[in-house]
């Protein structure tokens, strides 16, 4: 090796070492960066990542509380819970839903109804992570699926609590039903500040008592802190808070009375509300036909839904609460007490009834239902024979706004405030109402002619069967009004303590006892020989006060006579009846409507008699009371 070569070599080596030093420096700097990062993560932000790791690890699983029971006033269970296995699919974890369902149906039988219901639930509940394809599996089905479960990722058997209504249709319109929580329910839950409490809940009260007392029945959701792995599988429970069961509801409804009343309707459609006048407690709440709320519990399949929804009998229609009908002659006792209280009529004042009423200067005749009239009629007789002419005159003699203000006190034209949602207000006309109701100025004016038919509960008047029962209960209770309520008291399942729903009256109408007594005695005579409901009242062992009514379904021309036999069943008049008993110390007041039942006396009044006989005397009807379809005319 020459010197020059050696020198070159030395220079190259120095250069190489310099490069190596640069590389070593880069290694140091890079490791420094890593160390800085570790310090940042593990020292400076340790707590943040610690929390993140805990959040990863621990999942809070809600534990659903037992829903409160619903019992009748005697402790008969009307709604209870049962535990059942359901086969549920998590759509987000299943790639091909149709293929999975097809494969599932080879293991567990899945009916077309169930497939349709699943499809419907899927469109309605997009956010849900688990939807039932089949509910109430038998033990054998559970075992068969369990053996094949490995083939179905995203499909699980779950034990769930279901609502069950042991009496099916009985009181269905009062109880309502449970259904799956949908988007609208979620909005309501959030608005009510109940979101946290509903984390583990997927069913909610949709109608009736179930809906109105949802938060009493629901209970308080418990929780378990569960350690989970990355797949969300629970490893072990770290701690848990037990759920608190919902409160039980004891109803005012008497299940036996309810059953007898429902049967008394036979095949007729209609509604009956029975109220205890001294408390406002609803003893029976009938809307016929009813429906079986059990079909809604698992999510109703589209076919059953269509059957219920499209039936001409409208079984889902709550007639007691939302059906508004002209009150007809059942309006007369309230008109009568108004006339007496306002001094428009005295007990002695009599009219000579020619069978029609004419306004001065007009030729139009407002007909009485009885051709030729009732002769000399005073207030007592006007109720007993249901004289129209008497009340045409009284209505004309009373300013419509005065009439409106007085009769509103009996609850007409406004919601009663019953503890079931969706109530209709009915209609009690006034000048203000007419001005708002119509557009053309000449229609907005109140004419004397408008007042005439108001007197007999026709014209603009509309009332729900519930309102009729409420007004009757107020009258029976001498003007002291209690809000109608189905729930009697709420029982705390933890402490057993009872909370009464309605201890205080909402209103006290100042009525003179003698005028009340006069109207009541006239109503009592309605069910006696000579009265319009004498047949229904025959042999009653208690004071049976009532008033019949008829509401027209089709208008009758001026010179035409309504012939029940000639009109199709659906166009026949609605039969109405209000009653209370015993007359001297009323324990029960009813409002009854029978759709297309014809006269109140023949169809509606016997239903009241059957209900009263059971409620007051414990007497069961001999035969299922099926009212005759077409009765002989004559009464009313």
């Amino acid at each position: 090796m020459s010197f020059a070569e050696f020198r070159d070599h030395e220079r190259d080596l120095r250069r190489f070492h310099a490069r190596l030093a640069v590389a070593g420096g880069i290694v140091f700097v890079a490791f420094g960066i890593l160390l800085a990062r570790f310090v940042w993560l593990q020292l400076l932000h340790h707590e943040y990542y610690q929390t993140k790791a805990e959040d990863n690890r621990i999942s809070v699983v809600p534990i659903q509380p037992n829903r409160g029971l619903i019992l009748d006033r005697n402790g008969v269970v009307l709604a209870r819970n049962f535990s059942a296995y359901t086969l549920e699919i998590n759509p987000s974890k299943v790639a091909d839903l149709d293929a999975t369902i097809a494969a599932l149906s080879e293991v567990v039988e899945i009916e077309a109804r169930e497939r349709n219901r699943f499809r419907k639930l899927r469109t309605e509940l997009r956010g849900a992570d688990s939807l039932p394809i089949k509910t109430r599996l038998t033990d054998e089905e559970v075992a068969r699926f369990a053996a094949n479960a490995y083939r179905f990722p995203g499909v699980e058997i779950k034990a769930r609590l279901f609502r069950h209504y042991p009496f099916a249709e009985l009181a269905s319109h009062a109880l309502g039903y449970m259904g799956r929580i949908n988007d609208r329910d979620v909005e309501q839950i959030v608005e009510d500040g109940q979101k946290a409490n509903y984390k583990g809940t997927d069913h909610i009260g949709k109608l009736g008592i179930e809906q109105n007392y949802e938060y009493e029945l629901h209970g308080i959701t418990g929780s378990a802190q569960v350690e989970i792995d990355a797949n969300g599988k629970g490893i072990r429970t770290l701690s848990s808070v037990a759920p608190i069961a919902g409160n039980n509801l004891v109803l005012n409804i008497d299940a036996k009375l309810q059953e007898i009343a429902e049967q008394a309707f036979g095949n007729f459609r209609g509604a009956l509300v029975a109220i205890e006048p001294a408390t406002g407690g609803v003893l029976a709440f009938v809307s016929k036909p009813g429906f079986d709320p059990n079909v809604f519990v698992d999510g109703i399949d589209p076919q059953s839904w269509a059957e219920l929804n499209n039936s001409p009998d409208r079984p889902l229609n709550n007639r007691a609460l939302t059906g508004t009908y002209p009150p007809g002659s059942t309006f007369k006792p309230f008109m009568a007490i108004m006339g007496l209280e306002l001094g428009k009529r005295s007990p002695e004042f009599s009219i000579a009834d020619p069978g029609y009423f004419q306004l001065p200067g007009h030729s139009h005749r407002y007909r009485d239902w009885k051709v030729g009239g009732h002769g000399m009629v005073n207030l007592h007789k006007s109720i007993v024979v249901s004289c129209d002419t008497y009340y045409y005159g009284l209505a004309v003699d009373t300013d419509i706004d005065v009439l409106h203000n007085f009769l509103s006190q009996f609850g007409f034209g406004q919601p009663t405030g019953i503890d079931v949602q969706g109530e209709k207000s009915g209609l009690l006309p006034s000048r203000e109402w007419k001005r708002k109701r119509f557009k053309r100025p000449e229609d907005q004016k109140w004419y004397t002619g408008d007042s005439v038919s108001v007197g007999i509960g026709q014209g603009y008047n509309l009332a729900t069967p519930l309102q009729l029962a409420y007004a009757t209960a107020i009258l029976a209770n001498n003007g002291v009004a209690f809000r109608p309520h189905i729930v009697k008291h709420i029982v705390d399942t933890q402490t057993g303590k009872q909370r009464a729903v309605e201890p205080q009256p909402v209103r006290q109408i100042p009525l003179h006892p003698k005028w009340v007594a006069l109207v009541k005695s006239a109503m009592e005579d309605v069910t006696k020989p000579g009265g319009t409901a004498s047949r229904a009242g025959a042999g009653a062992a208690y004071g049976f006060a009532g008033k019949t009514g008829t509401a027209q379904v089709i208008a009758i021309k001026q010179n035409e006579k309504y012939d029940e036999k000639r009109v199709a069943e659906r166009f026949r008049d609605h039969a109405l009846f209000i009653a209370f008993a015993p007359a001297d110390a009323p324990k029960i007041a009813v409002g009854i409507l029978v759709e297309n039942g014809g006269h109140g006396s023949t169809v509606a009044a016997p239903i009241a008699r059957t209900a009263f006989d059971y409620y007051l005397l414990g007497k069961l009807p001999d035969t299922p009371a099926v009212a005759p379809a077409a009765a002989a005319a004559g009464d009313e």
């Binding site: 070569e5 070159d8 190259d12 250069r15 190489f16 070492h17 490069r19 190596l20 590389a23 070593g24 290694v27 140091f28 890079a30 490791f31 960066i33 890593l34 160390l35 990062r37 570790f38 310090v39 993560l41 593990q42 020292l43 932000h45 340790h46 943040y48 990542y49 610690q50 993140k52 790791a53 805990e54 990863n56 690890r57 350690e227 989970i228 792995d229 990355a230 797949n231 490893i235």
Partner: protein, 364 residues
């Protein structure tokens, strides 16, 4: 007699490198036991891997650098040929074509390139020693680009990057002029915005997710988010061996292989990380010392490149797990589970030992 036999057997083994490697292997086995949910079978498998790898190291340590030089070109050419074969007949696993079947087993030819690449370039520059020109750097770059491109095509970003880095280290140590390095940096800086604007929206989005994983927490970002949580939640002292919740509840994906550092870091904390960094620093430092003292240009370049490759592994892997570098498939040297990487690494260590052993023999 026995002592001489032992001397002959261990003569080429560098005790410093061996000590550091043993420490790292031990830490690796402890961590693997935890990461594999205390399954002994995984430890046994890794034990076999280690035995094979140590044997390879011993063999590599016995081969004098002169012999290595002779084989540099053939190994390189064979490696490139195998990469082409992979491209044509390779088996596709998880969407990547990396594996080649030979008889009973399969292996990744790209792995050979991690050694073959620096070997080839060191041989090339050694031949040109004293008269290295710009032309040589261009040739070297071409020699580097061919296998790197083939590996990138598989696609295997991690290995391709390691091969590129190993080759680049040789070129750098061979004296790549600073002007060119500076020019390259400027050119890359200037080209990036142009290149970026040429990409489709979805391609840009994918790169952005790579940079900021929180934009895709359940997809591409999941690995990084979970491993960062594991590291951060470990704190200063760590949660303790076998106590890592992120590990044992399976929140860390690929926790025995590329993400094993998350397991280590969660259970041994900042202190453990410091110890690990020191061990790697010692390994790299020892390698650089071997390089500095090597007998010839070839040995210097090869030892330097191999040592700096170790650094690349460590930095990319730890950077990825702790969330400052994008996710690329690079194992943590001597800790991650897997035979192939272990064999490659120990062959590298064996070469270092050989170069170290022969430093005086050539010097006159």
């Amino acid at each position: 007699m026995f002592a001489r036999l032992l001397q002959r057997f261990t003569g080429n083994i560098d005790s410093a490198l061996m000590f550091i490697a043993t420490m790292l292997l031990a830490l690796g086995l402890f961590t693997l036991y935890s990461a594999a949910n205390e399954e002994i079978s995984r430890l046994v498998a890794q034990g076999i891997n280690i035995a094979v790898a140590l044997t390879c190291m011993w063999i590599a340590a016995q081969i004098p650098p002169q012999t290595l030089m002779r084989f540099a070109l053939p190994i390189y050419l064979a490696g490139v040929a195998l990469l082409v074969a992979v491209d044509l007949f390779g088996e596709i696993v998880n969407g990547s074509q990396r594996w080649l079947h030979i008889g009973v087993t399969r292996f990744q030819p790209s792995e050979i390139m991690k050694i073959a690449m620096p070997l080839m370039l060191a041989w090339y520059f050694d031949r040109r020693e004293g008269s290295v020109r710009v032309r040589d750097f261009i040739i070297a770059t071409a020699l580097l680009a061919i296998p790197a491109g083939l590996i990138m095509k598989q696609p295997d970003l991690g290995t391709s990057m390691l091969v590129l880095a190993a080759g680049f280290y040789v070129i750098f140590l061979a004296g790549l002029p600073w002007k060119i390095i500076l020019g390259m940096l400027v050119a890359i800086g200037a080209a990036t915005p142009v290149f970026w604007s040429m990409l489709h929206d979805y391609q840009q989005q994918r790169i952005l997710t790579l940079i900021d994983p929180t934009t895709d927490p359940l997809g591409a970002g999941y690995h990084i988010i979970q491993s960062t949580i594991a590291v951060g939640s470990g704190g200063v002292q760590g949660k303790g061996w076998l106590e890592g919740t992120q590990t044992h509840l399976e929140f860390i994906p690929e926790r025995t292989t590329d993400f094993i550092f998350a397991v280590y870091s969660e259970e041994f904390g900042l202190i453990g990380n410091g110890i690990l960094l020191l061990l790697y620093l010692a390994l790299i430092g020892r390698g650089l010392m071997v390089s500095a003292g090597a007998a010839n240009f070839f040995g210097r370049l090869l030892a330097g490149a191999i040592s700096l490759s170790f650094f690349t592994y460590v930095f990319v892997n730890m950077g990825m797990v702790s969330g400052i570098l994008p996710v690329v498939g690079v194992p943590l040297p001597l800790i991650s589970y897997g035979g192939t990487a272990l064999v490659t690494l120990f062959v590298g260590i064996g070469i270092l030992m050989s170069i170290n052993k022969h430093r005086k023999l050539v010097q006159t």
